[in-house]
Symmetry: C2
Subunit: 156 residues, 2 copies
């Protein structure tokens, strides 16, 4: 475990540690904004000026559509998002940020996009190396577009 042979595996483990170390920051931010972690996550996934069907949000949250109803209910009752039926197919509900929602999301985004200490402290050439390696990682893999839920099947 100290030094796996495969550099990709070691990179992956280090990457996991960075994300773990980041978690408290995310939780503290949600707390600060008066949102649950899931609500903050959902808010972040909505882009200003872009309407998103509830089913797409469910996909991006990797959860069942029935959850999204509640999460959206709570965000809507706080005046952060709105839902309206789609013109083409009135079964579909389109989500959009309100001004207040966009404001809050902007604050959240600004906080969350600040790299954690591990990365921020790197010398510039290492930051560049990291960025370049990650860029090419996404060049390698065909862009998956909308994240897809893996047919959730679990406890419940």
């Amino acid at each position: 475990m100290a030094s796996p042979k495969d550099p990709a595996q070691e990179a992956w483990e280090l990457l996991w540690r960075i994300m773990q170390a980041h978690k408290p920051r995310f939780l503290a931010l949600a707390q600060e904004l008066g949102l649950s972690p899931a609500q903050l996550h959902a808010l972040r996934l909505l882009e200003p000026g872009v309407e998103l069907p509830m089913s797409s949000l469910a996909g991006r949250l990797f959860c069942d559509a029935s959850n999204v109803t509640g999460i959206v209910d709570r965000l809507e009752s706080r005046g952060l998002i709105e839902r309206r039926p789609a013109a083409q197919d009135r079964r579909v509900k389109l989500l959009s940020l309100t001004d207040e929602g966009a404001r809050l999301r902007e604050i959240a985004w600004r906080q969350m996009s600040r790299p954690p200490a591990e990365i921020a402290a790197l010398p510039l050439e290492h930051k560049r190396a990291l960025r370049d390696a990650l860029r090419s990682a996404f060049d390698q893999v065909a862009d998956a577009g909308d994240a897809q839920a893996p047919t959730p099947t679990g406890r419940g």
Copy 2:
């Protein structure tokens, strides 16, 4: 958003995307093993042959100690872990993996340590570059040792 000036910020955003893309794999694995995500996470944080106080597990999970009681209850009732009072301070309960728990954790570990497609598909020199950059990231920051919960204060 397409190309932030700061390479660290762009690296961080790409890193976040990789972790997002990884989430379904984690959920599917938990499902497969018949564990909740939190239970799988806890199981992963227990090292074979190492006894861990419940409070330390709470710290590593970034959650309140009162949650750990339930999570540990469920893992224990499945025969995956055990708790026993510490000799020095009988208030403290030490957690350890059972053989079955260690077996399941090994399976989980093997799955989770496989890098996601984005990283696995990189050419070797890019894997090395990524690993080296991440290694130096951890050299920069003093090792935090036991993760510390950020004084959880939230909805409840």
